[in-house]
């Protein structure tokens, strides 16, 4: 039996009433939670984490880095990391200018924010709750990376795990702080973007000149703290302090949030959460685009004039879609490609654990690329009116995304070539895997975006496997070639040719993806007939 909330009426003032109501709701939530179910999930999650970490620790058998690599990391890593943090802060500022990062219940907007209570007091708990989760996740991730990095670089396990955990905790503080400032101060999206771009440019300048002057580069110092002493350590502390100041300013001004944006976000985020809970990635993507007001351009960047085989209607339709991409989507995909290249280099220089990240990151870009294919899946009636089978139609929709994805992977390889100081290896590995990797990423995105979240409604475990399968496939696809290249001893030529073996794995994954799509659309067509 639930406890009545009731006590709110006895509250001394509106803020006390609000707090009493929230306490009562939390109590009720805990009472209703199935403790055994929660413990079981924690147990499974913990077991999986221990298994993965133990496997990686055993498989990687990391050796200490040579002095040249250590010096290179000491000199360049803070600015490179700072540039990445700068990009995250830019994303945070833009999200804040659109009313993020808070997602408030529609009823909270309707009753609490329209009541004569301090909006700062009303919104602060939601902001802190979001921050707690992000800081905790960031710290855990940082600690895990630190656990691998200390085996290769000077410094103790405690120093590396501590500094990277602190870095992992401070980055969400900086990003959420920036978002809260933009949201509460009602910054125009143009102003917020300009501030973010300036910060990124400042970080890039630090990288070019070898300075530590941007706050984001200071956070880069924090990530590599065991390699630094004296002034650099003080700068790292200053970077963390600046992030905390941004958060403080953001929390103080959060009452200025636009209700219009809050209401819109409340509706969209509620739908997104539901879609995410049933692993409906396609709906999540569409809602995220609505949230970001990311619409196709009215006028394409170029008018297509295709002749001969290139005028194939499906090929043409796919390119027409890309040519209407808004600038923000193009920039996002390019930045994803650059980040994936940077992470690959990070894997070689810091720890191969980072090889697990480029694949899922590029998968996010692939989800944008398969938009025309996903639209065919969204409209089965329209599809059924076409004079070809659904499976053939879907397969033909794969070519343009694979071609474009190959360009994205090439950008990653070029980035790695520039950042690593070993262009031969980066470009060689890139050339060997570009097409099969692009095919795996596109097939995984297509499988994911066309997944029917209710297909296995009676078997939730199977449904989760169907949802997570494509992401795991991309993780493997990104990890395997880089791991092969890292593991093979010898000159660049030997490493590149060794990676050819990874192509076999990639081809199997791509064929499996096409097979799933064939089966899925054949089945749907039969059911519709």
């Amino acid at each position: 039996m639930d406890q009545p909330v009731g006590t709110v009426l006895a509250a001394a003032d509106p803020v006390a009433a609000m707090k009493a109501m929230r306490r009562a709701r939390r109590r009720r939530y805990v009472q209703r939670a199935d403790v055994m179910e929660v413990l079981y999930r924690v147990y499974l999650g913990g077991l999986a984490a221990i298994f993965i970490l133990a496997f990686l620790a055993g498989a990687l058998r990391e050796v200490p880095a040579d002095p040249g690599s250590v010096e290179s990391i000491r000199a360049h890593a803070p600015a490179v990391i700072g540039l990445a943090v700068g990009l995250l802060v830019l994303a945070g500022l833009r999200a804040g200018a659109r009313g993020g990062p808070l997602a408030i219940e529609a009823a909270e907007v309707r009753y609490t924010l329209l009541a004569p209570v301090s909006r700062r007091a009303a919104l602060r708990p939601a902001a802190l709750a979001q921050l707690r989760i992000a800081v905790f996740a960031g710290a855990i991730f940082g600690a895990v990376v630190g656990n691998f990095v200390f085996r290769r670089f000077p410094g103790t396990a405690v120093e590396w795990i501590g500094s990277l955990a602190a870095f992992g905790a401070v980055v969400p503080i900086a990003v959420l702080g920036a978002a809260l400032v933009a949201c509460g101060r009602r910054l125009h999206i143009g102003v917020a973007s300009a501030i973010g771009v300036l910060l990124v440019a400042w970080s890039a300048l630090d990288l070019a000149l070898g300075w530590t002057s941007a706050p984001t580069t200071m956070l880069g110092d924090l990530a590599t703290l065991p390699l630094h002493h004296g002034l650099d350590a003080a700068l790292a502390a200053a970077g963390a302090a600046l992030a905390l100041v941004a958060l403080g300013v953001g929390l103080l001004g959060i009452g200025g949030l636009r209700l219009e944006a809050a209401r819109r976000r409340a509706e969209l985020v509620a739908e997104m959460r539901f879609s995410a809970s049933v692993q409906d990635l396609r709906t999540v993507i569409l809602l995220r685009r609505q949230l970001a007001s990311e619409l196709p351009r009215r006028r394409p960047w170029l008018r297509l004039r295709l002749r001969g085989p290139a005028a194939n209607p499906i090929w043409r339709r796919d390119w027409q879609s890309y040519l209407r991409w808004p600038l923000v989507r193009i920039v996002r995909v390019v930045l994803i490609a650059v980040a994936a290249g940077g992470l690959a280099v990070g894997g070689f220089d810091l720890t191969p654990v980072l090889f697990a990240l480029p694949g899922p990151l590029l998968f996010v870009a692939a989800l944008d690329l398969i938009e025309p294919l996903a639209q065919e899946s969204d409209h089965p009636t329209r599809r059924l009116l076409l004079p070809q089978t659904a499976a053939v139609l879907i397969r033909r929709h794969l070519w343009a995304p694979i071609a474009t994805m190959a360009v994205v992977v090439a950008i990653s390889a070029v980035t790695a070539a520039i950042a690593s100081g070993n262009p031969g290896l980066a470009l060689g590995v890139g050339a060997v895997v570009v097409l099969p990797l692009a095919a795996v990423l596109v097939c995984a995105a297509a499988v994911s975006a066309t997944n029917d979240p209710y297909e296995f409604a009676l078997n939730p475990q199977l449904s989760q496997v169907a949802g997570l399968g494509p992401i795991v496939a991309t993780m493997i696809a990104g990890f395997v070639p880089l791991f092969f290249a890292w593991k093979i001893e010898g000159a660049n030529g030997a490493r590149v040719s060794g990676v050819l073996g990874a192509d076999f794995v990639l081809l199997i994954l791509a064929i499996a993806g096409v097979g799933v799509l064939n089966l899925r659309f054949d089945k749907r067509e039969k059911e519709a007939m």
Partner: protein, 257 residues
């Protein structure tokens, strides 16, 4: 425009681009005023240069066809939308200020509830947020009059459309206010409940609060002191409810929804 002594200046009619004006009875003291209020979205004008003033104790019917801009106007006054032109004041303050939030109660067209709070818990919470004294008696009365007896412990998801609307009405009325904005409040109500709501709105008006009701219903228009009509985001009529003038502006089907 603002009240001037015994009667507010009102505008009526359409045809030459300028709204027609007719005198209506007012009770003094402007509690809601909009001056050149506008809201546009990427070039689409949802509400354009809208000027209106509402006096304390007035019952105003806000009418117009679907998409005319009625809900946009109400959301702008409630502070749920930001204007792109002009200004609006509630009790002399900008929407969203503490004073405006104290003065204004909003009954939206779509009820929303906390998914884990019961009907009575919603009422208690809203009453507490607004510092209502003797809230229990007020809540009991609203539950009884709106026919919510037996549904006190129900969650929002367990309520029918009509019951949700009744709870939303109770939530708008459980707290004190000087201006009540109601967007299609009779939607989903059965005839006896409509009578109860009419009586409650009349009591609200008698107590000196201004009531602005967005509606398509002729019975609400007839009961109003004043009728403000919007068409294509523009003020088309502002004056006493006059069937002959209204039918000049709108098709009969547009008014009866």
């Amino acid at each position: 425009m603002s009240g001037n002594g015994g009667g507010a200046i009102a505008a009526t009619g359409v045809g030459d681009g300028e709204p027609r004006r007719r005198p209506v009875a007012g009770s003094g003291g402007t509690v809601l005023s909009a001056q050149g209020l506008g809201r546009s979205y990427d070039g689409y004008i949802a509400l354009g240069s809208f000027t209106v003033a509402v006096e304390a104790g007035e019952f105003v019917a806000l009418i117009g066809p679907n998409g005319a801009g009625k809900t946009t106007f109400l959301n702008l006054v409630a502070g749920l939308l930001d204007p792109t032109a002009g200004r609006v004041e509630v009790a002399g303050e900008v929407p969203g200020s503490l004073a405006a939030r104290t003065a204004l109660s909003f009954l939206p067209d779509t009820p929303v509830f906390y998914e884990d709070l019961s009907v009575v818990e919603h009422l208690e919470y809203v009453a507490a947020l607004h510092g209502v004294e003797d809230a229990s008696a007020r809540i009991d009365e609203l539950i009884r009059r709106l026919g919510l007896d037996g549904w006190e412990d129900a969650l929002g998801a367990e309520l029918s459309k009509g019951m949700r609307q009744k709870v939303s009405i109770a939530l708008a009325l459980v707290r004190p206010f000087r201006v009540l904005l109601a967007d299609e409040p009779l939607d989903g109500l059965d005839p006896p409940s409509r009578e109860v709501l009419f009586a409650m709105l009349a009591e609200t008006k008698a107590a000196g609060a201004a009531v602005v009701v967005s509606t398509h219903r002729p019975d609400v228009i007839a009961a109003a002191d004043r009728c403000v009509a919007i068409r294509d985001g523009r003020l088309a009529y502002d004056g006493a409810p006059d069937a002959s003038v209204l039918t000049e502006i709108f098709d009969r089907s547009e008014l009866e929804g």
